[in-house]
């Protein structure tokens, strides 16, 4: 028995030694197969103190609902931007100014599941202006301003459920798209779930983006057959004007979907000619449907978010609009669909498959012209598979999900089940390289992914399973990302790094596109908040019935006023705190003992409001929570609370005895 063990160890050692030379060929070796040797990998990701990363990479937070900002190649986390979920640290969703951002037709929804960050594009290239991301659970889209790294706008998507195939914007950011992962009755109604086949439909929404200010608006929705619309990719170059959505559950099952939705040998990629759709809308071929959805936007001058409820949407019915939609048969419940940088190839990843299916846009147009239909489903022509497919990648892996491109004619596909990235050649479909991932990769990202001009230097694998990659932290573990150098023929693993939340997609671009525009502070003189004050002299307290408004300022290292008397039990007290600082990196915090809300975190030049209902008599302290200066600990004050109906005079002061 003992000899056997020694033999096994010797054998394992031989395998390890023999596979060290050929980077990344072996799948069974743990830890850093495919890596450079440790010191050169360390050098490749080392960003010296005080120096900056080459790329910004924006990770979706998945079930955190947020976005995290990471530098590449270091993998360092710089910031977590609150988007769809409340963030007590920043007062997001807690202070009076930001609450409206999370309003929906269902009321205040404090959480969502954010999936696919997409940077705005001009002429098919990342322009560094805005980042868009979808909220999956209560369908929403958000726009993040990349001068402030703050969420500027959130638009709810009506008639949708599970906003997964989104935002996948077009090459000039004309549209964001929002396809539903769940078909539902549209409009919603009380029906038996077993009537799925007749009552359920899927909506694909096209959201226009104002080219100057970025404002989002639902241009039109297309009502589609009751499939699940999984992911999308918009055309570019020759295919500009088309957006492609993967579908599964073309079986229209409504229970035990893991089996019922996996019966058809082929599902579809739905090719939507949105330019044609625009024509139908312009020709008045739409119906206007009643619905209810929230549009939330931050005013740039007041920094206050407000909600506007909208109640109409233009709807196109797929079957009534010939020439607008075609189905491309694609094997085995395709998940990702990705159009390559030239706009010619449409890659479908049948997630229960070993192979990738590559359709040709040119062939698709020819098949449409020749009316080369296999059949018609719910009024939509299904093009013949043989007429549109250009090639199949015999990958040798299993469970392909997503594909990115390096701009040099190579594609990189993630394989969840076989846990690897496979590099292959467009046009010839030969496999060039493969590297294992630790473990079970979902999305992958090359900076500039989805655009016509990616920066094919690094590839980030976002892995779904972590297990033993880091020091254990109990049952719940950080999700793991891995950085690969893809500048050469072979992919080389450089770095493992933990991520925030559960990233799905991530998208990045060179830092130079964003860094020069990053705002250092807000100009106080441009602050139009109705309760802002421009100097300490204007600090005051006003009573209006049982509402008390404190016009407060903060500057290193005091609040004005810092002593307030005359507040009474049962009052509704609003602390409107203006940060008078006008320097880089000088936020102040404001926290009130016992307030049923979070702190305020106030950027220089901005006014934020904390709401407080004092419940008992006493003298209640407040203080600055952001270590601002040498006298930060002294930056505090008191609010005296008197009994209801007492005659305590309303007064306030700073620096007087």
């Amino acid at each position: 028995m003992k000899t056997l063990k020694i033999f096994a160890v010797a054998l394992a050692a031989t395998v390890l030694i023999s596979s060290c030379g050929d980077s990344g060929q072996s799948n069974n070796k743990k830890s850093n197969s495919g890596a450079l040797n440790n010191s050169s990998a360390a050098e490749a990701v080392y960003v010296a103190p005080g120096e900056h990363d080459e790329f910004y990479e924006f990770f979706s937070g998945g079930f955190s609902g947020q976005v995290s900002v990471v530098g590449l190649p270091s993998g360092r986390l710089f910031r977590r931007i609150p988007v769809f979920s409340v963030d007590a640290e920043k007062g997001y969703g807690f202070d009076e100014e930001s609450k409206a951002m999370l309003q929906t037709s269902h009321g205040f929804v404090p959480w969502d599941d954010s999936h696919h960050p997409k940077l705005s594009q001009t002429n098919g290239e990342i322009d560094g202006r805005w980042l868009f991301i979808n909220g999956n659970n209560t369908p929403r889209l958000a726009r993040i301003d990349l001068t402030t790294f703050e969420t500027a706008e959130i638009l709810e998507i009506p008639n949708s459920a599970g906003n997964h195939s989104s935002p996948y914007l077009t090459m000039n950011t004309e549209y964001l798209v929002a396809g539903t992962r769940f078909s539902v009755p549209i409009p919603q109604k009380d029906v038996s779930i077993n009537t799925y086949k007749e009552n359920f439909h899927g909506a694909l929404s096209f959201i226009s983006v104002d080219p100057e200010h970025g404002d989002m608006d639902i241009a039109f929705q297309i009502v589609m057959p009751g499939f699940d619309y999984d992911l999308a990719s918009s055309g570019k170059g020759p295919s500009h004007g088309w957006t492609f959505f993967t579908t599964y559950n073309t079986e229209k099952g409504n229970t035990m979907k893991e089996a019922t939705a996996s019966q058809n040998d082929k599902d579809f990629i739905a090719a939507i000619n949105w330019k044609k759709a625009e024509e139908y809308v312009a020709a008045g071929k739409f119906e206007e449907w009643d619905c209810s959805y929230a549009h939330n936007k931050v005013d740039e001058k007041t920094h206050i978010a407000s909600t506007e409820m909208r109640n109409k949407v233009k709807v196109l019915k797929a079957a009534d609009c010939p020439g607008m939609i075609y189905f491309l048969p694609t094997p085995k419940s395709p998940h990702g669909v990705d159009v390559n940088t030239t706009g010619e190839y449409i890659i479908g990843c049948g997630k229960l498959n070993a192979d990738l299916t590559v359709h040709s846009f040119e062939k698709m147009l020819a098949a449409i012209a020749a009316e080369d239909y296999e059949t018609i489903v719910d009024g939509i022509p299904v093009l013949k598979y043989e007429s549109v497919v250009d090639g199949v990648v015999k990958s040798g892996g299993l469970g392909p999900l997503h594909t990115e491109f390096d701009g040099r004619g190579n594609a990189y596909t993630s394989f969840f089940i076989s846990s690897e990235v496979v590099k292959w050649k467009l046009g010839t479909y030969e496999v060039l390289d493969r590297v294992p991932c630790y473990y079970s990769i979902g999305h992958l990202s090359i900076p500039g992914g989805g655009s016509m001009k990616p920066w094919g230097k690094y590839l980030v694998a976002m892995n779904k399973i972590t297990k033993d990659r880091y020091l254990p932290t109990g049952p719940e573990l950080a999700h793991s990302a891995q950085l690969f150098d893809i500048s050469g023929d072979k992919m080389k693993l450089l770095l493992d790094f933990p991520t925030d939340g559960e990233p799905h997609y991530a998208q990045g671009c060179p830092a130079e596109l964003i860094k020069p525009n990053s705002k250092k502070f807000f100009k106080l003189s441009e602050n139009e908040h109705p309760y802002a004050i421009m100097s300490e002299e204007d600090a005051r307290v006003e009573r209006d019935g049982n509402q008390v408004h404190v016009y407060m300022s903060c500057i290193r290292s005091h609040f004005a006023p810092d002593n307030i008397e005359g507040i009474k039990v049962g009052d509704q007290v609003y602390f409107h705190v203006t940060n008078l600082e006008q320097d880089w990196d000088t936020p102040h915090g404001f926290a009130m003992m016992g307030a049923n809300t979070s702190e305020l975190l106030i950027m220089p030049g901005v006014t934020k409001t904390l709401y407080w209902e004092p419940k008992e008599e006493g003298v209640i302290p407040f203080y600055c929570t952001d270590f601002c200066s040498a006298l930060h600990q002294e930056m505090q004050g008191y609010a005296r609370v008197s009994a209801k109906g007492s005659s305590t005079e309303l007064k306030w002061w700073l620096g007087e005895d």
Binding site: I555, Q582, W584, L631, E634
Partner: protein
């Protein structure tokens, strides 16, 4: 007046226009947590920073050690100096026009006296800001004064203060130098040009 001396007077007068278009002096404060630096410019009629909030930021720093606020509106010199400047330019042109050697000496000495007085006044101002501290300041360091240097660099607690003339100041100095040269030339030069 000899033609060369006369030319110097003209050039000196025109150069003085420089004090109206460029700062006279600048003071820079350097500390690691201010990677962009803090720069203050002293003009003939105003005090500015590298951006519109610099003075506020300097005042915030200074209040911890009890220095007075720098408030350009309350500094009388900034209101008087521009008139002095305009007077000197016009007087110079008058001297150039009149060609009288006596006027050259009057102008030259007046200019030198005013320039020295101006710099002395600046030094006094710096002295006052550096020494006249609020006794209730939060940070008190025994024996420490915060007078920035007139020329060169000096450590003031965690800041390195650097002070040099700016283009306007160099214009003024050059004017003075040309007038001295002009007077010397007028008095002692053997040539007639």
């Amino acid at each position: 007046m000899k033609p060369l001396a006369r030319a110097y007077v003209l050039i000196a007068s025109i150069l003085l226009i420089g004090i109206f278009v460029q700062p006279l002096w600048y003071i820079a404060l350097d500390a690691p947590q201010y990677p962009d630096g803090i720069e203050m410019y002293i003009w003939v009629n105003k005090i500015t920073g590298q951006d519109e909030s610099t003075l506020q930021n300097i005042n915030i720093l200074n209040h911890y050690i009890g220095m007075q606020k720098i408030e350009p509106d309350s500094i009388p010199e900034l209101k008087i100096f521009p008139y002095v400047g305009v007077f000197l330019i016009l007087f110079g042109l008058f001297v150039w026009w009149k060609k009288q050697p006596k006027l050259l000496y009057v102008y030259g000495f007046l200019m030198l006296i005013l320039a020295v007085l101006g710099i002395f006044d600046f030094w006094l101002w710096e002295y006052d800001y550096g020494h006249n501290l609020d006794p209730h300041a939060a940070i008190k360091v025994d024996g420490m004064v915060y007078q920035p240097p007139l020329l060169g660099a000096k450590w003031l607690l965690n800041f390195k203060a650097v002070s040099y003339p700016h283009i306007g100041g160099i214009c003024l100095a050059t004017s003075c130098f040309l007038l001295i040269w002009g007077m010397v030339h007028q008095k002692w030069a053997k040539t007639s040009y």
